[in-house]
């Protein structure tokens, strides 16, 4: 029996993702081979846009910045990891709940508010950081933090310090909570200390979660952009340029839509390649469904 209404029920989903997700993605690939002029006549130029990309210094240096951002992000996980370990060691459940809540509150603030407030912290005259330096007699160290090439990228990286409020902390904390008490009791009987427990029990049991976090960090880093847009606009002199900003600038300031489509396609392919690795790595996940079907 052909149940046509099942397909009718799925039609809205197919329309939405077909028209607004698959079609634009495929059209970007198509137009990346053109000197694309959305309002006029586009000419086919083959791999011309990709050739331009390979000699685009700004584009490649924006990937160097992404590499630094990624490395910093991963190293900075030490802080949420430390916070999760400390939190799990608290004996009082009430304290644990209160501290967990306080630590994740920053997640509730809109990202743009966090970026703007940090921008205010960095501002050269009335900025909190320069005022604090003056207050402790180190006024000579005051800088134009986001305005000079030597400190701009570092300033962006420190937005959100100490980086506890976020997915890594939640994942570290919940996987520490999920360690069976029998394991910990057995370890205690064997005289395993707190540090040995961290290395021998906590870390190995978190390994699969850390792997997911790493992939997420790669994909997240590829999308990094709005903090840079708000605080530095990619400057000074492209010191904080990132691929997303370059892609937007090429299209909206340079008017070179075909080239922008090529950059967009490149980012898309990189993301897909990384995600394919995620799927393969996660494939071993257990199927925990009821399995019923009609």
């Amino acid at each position: 029996m052909f149940r046509w209404w099942l397909y009718l029920a799925l039609l809205p989903l197919a329309l939405v993702i077909g028209w607004f997700a698959y079609y634009p993605a495929l059209s970007a690939i198509f137009w990346s081979f053109f000197h694309w002029q959305p309002a006029g006549v586009s000419t086919f130029i083959g791999f011309g846009n990709y050739a331009t990309m390979f000699s685009d210094q700004i584009w490649w240096s924006s990937f160097r910045n992404l590499g630094l951002i990624f490395a910093f992000t991963v190293v900075a996980w030490i802080l949420p990891l430390l916070a999760a370990e400390l939190l799990i060691s608290l004996k009082s459940a009430r304290w644990q709940f209160a501290m967990r809540t306080l630590l994740i509150i920053p997640m509730a603030f809109p990202g743009v508010v966090t970026a703007l407030v940090w921008g205010f912290f960095y501002s050269p005259n009335d900025g909190v950081i320069n005022q604090a330096l003056k207050a402790i007699g180190l006024g000579a160290l005051a800088q134009n933090w986001t305005g000079q090439g030597s400190t701009a990228l570092l300033s962006l990286l420190f937005v959100g310090f100490p980086f506890i409020a976020g997915l890594p902390f939640l994942i570290f904390y919940s996987s520490l909570q999920n360690i069976p008490t029998e394991v910990l009791e057995a370890a205690q009987l064997d005289g395993v200390g707190r540090f040995a427990r961290f290395w021998r029990i906590d870390l190995p049991l978190m390994a699969s979660q850390v792997r997911i976090l790493l992939f997420l960090a790669v994909v997240g880093t590829l999308q990094y952009g709005f903090v840079a847009y708000v605080l530095t606009g990619g400057g000074p002199d492209n010191a904080t340029m990132v691929p997303i900003l370059r892609m937007i600038n090429v299209a909206f300031q340079g008017g070179d839509w075909g080239y922008s489509a090529a950059l967009s396609t490149t980012l898309f392919i990189i993301t897909m390649a990384i995600s394919a690795v995620v799927i393969v790595a996660r494939k071993r996940g257990a199927e925990t469904t009821d399995g019923g079907a009609m």
């Binding site: 809109p110 005022q131 997911i212």
Partner: protein, 277 residues
């Protein structure tokens, strides 16, 4: 032995470190609250302390400028949530509970999109919207949130509905319930928690998204919160009190939602991890 026990029960050192970490995390937001009640004179005189009298009128100044952004954000989020929940709940139900040709292909097509960030589509989607003549409308804002939301929504709902025991559906079918009835009377009421999670994630997405509204909206009266705030910052760059008050007003609805519904929020944040399904 006693010293160890008393140290364990009090854990002063541990608590101190955690409190320091919490204070550092929250410092920017505390500074924002304190500064939001100052005039520029008070700000110059006492940079760090709370100064008196507090100037609550900063909030009414900021409210007048920020309120339209909040209103726009609420409308866009509301429309997106309705569309997402309707489309995703039907699709999730069908994909979870029926067998039919092409099911794996269709669900695979949804899963693949889970891996593609919306930003990768920014440029072509902009041109698509421009050609449709939709720039500077609410529709242009709703479209990508809906497209992204139905992807995550369909996956979350499908997984949730697969977890509902088949016996419940069978019992209803023996009593004569058809597909529409099963959807409305059994699946929807049981799925309320996951529907709530999807709604919250959508609010958070609309509130936080930056580049899309930046590019497609140039009419200030249509801006949503994140881009609106950036514009607002440009307008009040030297008026610190109202500036910070505006940031706080723009954050408050999201912070309140997060505080009272954090269980659903966190379930969504962790459930939205690609590769977890």
């Amino acid at each position: 032995m006693t010293t160890i026990q008393s140290r364990r029960s009090r854990q002063i050192g541990l608590k101190t470190i955690l409190i320091v970490l919490a204070v550092v995390s929250l410092a920017p937001y505390l500074f924002m609250v304190v500064t939001s009640l100052k005039t520029n004179q008070q700000f110059a005189d006492s940079f760090w302390q709370i100064s008196f009298p507090p100037h609550f009128e900063n909030y009414s100044v900021a409210w007048n400028q920020v309120a339209p952004y909040l209103f726009n954000t609420a409308i866009v989020a509301g429309i997106s949530i309705v569309l997402i929940l309707v489309i995703a709940s039907i699709s999730g139900f069908v994909l979870a509970r029926y067998r039919f040709g092409g099911k794996r292909v269709i669900f695979g097509a949804v899963l693949v999109l889970m891996m593609v960030p919306g930003l990768a589509n920014l440029i072509p989607l902009f041109i698509l919207m421009k050609n449709l003549g939709l720039l500077n409308t609410y529709i242009v804002l709703v479209v990508p949130y809906t497209a992204g939301g139905v992807v995550l929504g369909t996956i979350l709902i499908r997984n949730f509905v697969e977890g509902i025991p088949q016996a419940i559906f069978d019992a209803a079918r023996i009593d004569g319930a058809g597909g529409a009835r099963l959807y409305r009377s059994i699946m929807l009421p049981l799925s309320l928690p996951v529907l709530g999670t999807i709604a919250l994630l959508t609010v958070s997405e609309v509130w936080n998204d930056f580049f899309w509204p930046l590019l497609v909206i140039s009419d200030n009266s249509l801006r949503t919160v994140s881009v609106g705030l950036q514009f607002f910052q440009g307008q009040n760059v030297t008026d610190y009190g109202p500036l910070m008050a505006g940031y706080l007003i723009a954050s408050l609805p999201l912070v309140l939602l997060f505080t009272f519904l954090s269980k659903y929020f966190l379930a969504g944040v962790q459930g939205g991890v690609p590769g977890a399904h």
